[in-house]
């Protein structure tokens, strides 16, 4: 019968229309600013710089190694390395970025900076309500704008942050063990240099 296909199709639309009043699987949209869908954990938007401790300037993990600047495909990161060293959150003197700018109007959220950073210093944010009427200044983020605490990182990407924290703690423990062993080896070597020269070698291993 001519028109049967159309009627079948209309029945389908009617089912969807009426179904949207009862089932969530046919009404999938939400009233955005009032109602929000939960954020997906792996989501990424623009990068931010992680800092440890309360002070963003002191705790910044970035040591200004310029790797991300070099690897960023559209070259939207610009860093100026500091001339001097300042103690970081653990008290170790480090270089720091005197200037760290990301032009987010150019950034394409590719996450390559995150992947290449050896110091877990740059991570992806999930904030997306970023519109501004200042096209140039408002979209060139300096390091103050980029700095976010590690707590914030843990909050937005809990699984990833836990893995990063664990691996940083492990690195630090290893480093401490190594420096302790080195110090011990040094002291034992000086103390027992005449009595037992072999023990110093063993400790160093």
């Amino acid at each position: 019968m001519l028109g049967e296909g159309i009627l079948k199709g209309l029945a389908e639309t009617a089912r969807n229309f009426l179904g949207s009043y009862v089932g969530k699987d046919r009404l999938t949209t939400v009233q955005y600013p009032e109602e929000r869908l939960p954020q997906i954990e792996a989501a990424r938007n623009f990068p931010f710089l992680v800092y440890d401790g309360p002070d963003w300037q002191q705790g910044m993990r970035c040591v200004s190694c310029l790797i991300c600047e070099k690897e960023c495909p559209p070259k939207c990161i610009s860093i100026e390395k500091s001339k001097d060293k300042k103690p970081d959150a653990t008290g170790k003197p480090q270089f720091y970025p005197a200037v760290f700018n990301i032009d987010v109007s150019v950034c394409m959220s590719c996450q390559i900076c995150v992947e290449v950073c050896p110091f877990e210093a740059i991570k992806m944010d999930v904030e997306f309500e970023l519109s501004t009427d200042d096209r140039f200044g408002g979209l060139l983020w300096n390091k103050e704008r980029l700095a976010r605490s590690n707590e914030y990182y843990r909050q937005i990407h809990p699984t990833e942050a836990a893995a990063v924290d664990a691996h940083l703690a492990e690195d630090r423990a290893k480093l401490e063990a190594k420096s302790k062993a080195a110090a011990e080896a040094k002291s034992s070597a000086t103390a027992m240099v005449s009595a037992q020269p072999a023990s110093g070698v063993a400790a160093e291993k």
Binding site: N16, E71, C110
Partner: protein, 384 residues
């Protein structure tokens, strides 16, 4: 009317008032159904198309030249932007070319992840393509919204896995960037299980619809011979009855492990192209069911491949995949440095567009939209 200069006019200047009754119309570039910025210079004799000249290049962004100055990894996020509906298959094609070039092995689990993401990409591409096709033919909103509702679920899966919905930047040379988060597999299984129901609904809606049949059957016929000669690939080629699917021909990745069939059309008209995509989605669901069932645990990256300072030895390689739109290939020449000496994309959308005039001649002007919609183009890939 076109503002084209004399040199590019399709119609000669009228000399005799009785002779030249053709009308030259410029369709696009801001036409709602040109799928981006694409222009067609059409000469009409009444309603009939007598000449058609596609004009593209509006979205050109120098992708290939930029890639020659980037590191190999640095081009990966740009491949997302070729076919922005299917970033994961573009990623795969590029990764495949580089892996060939450098002789990298991909671990088992990563291969499965690639198949799963690529077939999900095919599902969402075909579903939304059919939505767009019907939208072009005047079914405003409804089909497209239904398709987008399903696509949304797949995009949520992509976001949970890769962090982004469209610009996934997920595959790496020798594997994938991250493993699936907890619960992802179950969620994917749910989406895949529910998909055939959506396909049934979609078929209810259109397959026997008299208006659709009247508008698409016998329209825009492309013969198998012309399709082969013009280098057409993908669903377009198979709708013309040529059995050529790179997943079967090359068996790249691990495609030889899955049981699936390659649907073929026999008229090569718009309706066949529509129907073929419907059938292809069902086959993709089959592949997905098998892949989700069999995915083994294990590493997802080849441990020998470095992310930074990647320098394949000098040589050349061509890697190609069956992207949802056709054969997507990357041709790379390496001179041993950290960036490719030559980087070339073989975009299926562009090649499939080249027979547009052949399909449109003699058709009504309103059919041009349906024919263009059935080609499945993405301008990001056509213009690069």
């Amino acid at each position: 009317m076109s503002t084209a200069t004399e040199a590019v006019r399709l119609i000669p200047k009228p000399t005799d008032s009785h002779e030249c009754q053709l009308l030259e119309v410029s369709m696009g570039p801001q036409h709602p159904s040109t799928h981006g910025v694409f222009r067609m210079d059409v000469a009409l004799d009444g309603e009939r198309v007598v000449k058609l000249k596609p004009v593209f290049g509006y979205l050109h962004r120098n992708h290939e030249k930029i890639a020659e100055t980037e590191s190999y990894l640095g081009s990966m996020p740009y491949t997302d932007r070729l076919d922005y509906m299917c970033s994961l298959t573009s990623n795969w094609a590029y990764a495949l070319a580089v892996e060939k070039l450098a002789g990298i092995q991909v671990p088992e689990r990563a291969e499965y992840l690639r198949v799963i993401t690529a077939e999900l990409t095919r599902l969402q591409n075909h579903a939304s393509l059919i939505g767009f096709l019907l939208q072009d033919m005047g079914a405003s909103g409804t089909p497209l919204m239904y398709a987008f509702r399903e696509r949304e679920k797949i995009l949520d899966l992509f976001e949970a896995l890769t962090g982004a919905r469209m610009m996934c930047n997920y595959m790496r040379f020798g594997g994938c960037r991250v493993d699936m988060p907890a619960g992802w597999l179950q969620q994917a299984q749910k989406v895949v299980d529910a998909f055939p129901r959506f396909l049934d609904e979609y078929e209810q809606l259109f397959t026997e619809n008299e208006i659709l049949m009247a508008r698409t059957q016998g329209v825009g016929v492309l013969s198998g011979e012309l399709a082969v000669n013009a280098g057409i690939t993908g669903p377009m080629l198979r709708a013309s009855g040529v059995n050529y699917d790179i997943r079967k021909v090359d068996k790249y990745g691990i495609y030889e492990r899955f049981a699936f069939r390659v649907p073929l059309g026999d008229h090569g008209d718009v309706y066949d192209r529509y129907m073929l995509r419907m059938l292809e989605m069902r086959e993709s669901v089959k592949i997905l069911q098998q892949a989700l069932r069999d995915i083994p645990p294990g590493p997802i990256m080849d441990p020998k491949t470095k992310i930074r300072g990647f320098r394949p030895k000098a040589g050349e390689a061509y890697g190609r995949t069956e992207s949802p739109k056709g054969e997507l290939g990357f041709y790379l020449i390496s001179d041993g440095s950290s960036n490719p000496y030559r980087y070339r994309v073989r975009p299926p959308s562009l090649v499939n567009l080249t027979v547009l005039e052949g399909m449109c001649l003699g058709q009504n002007v309103a059919d041009v939209m349906a024919i263009l919609g059935s080609v499945d183009i993405v301008m990001g890939e056509v213009d690069r």
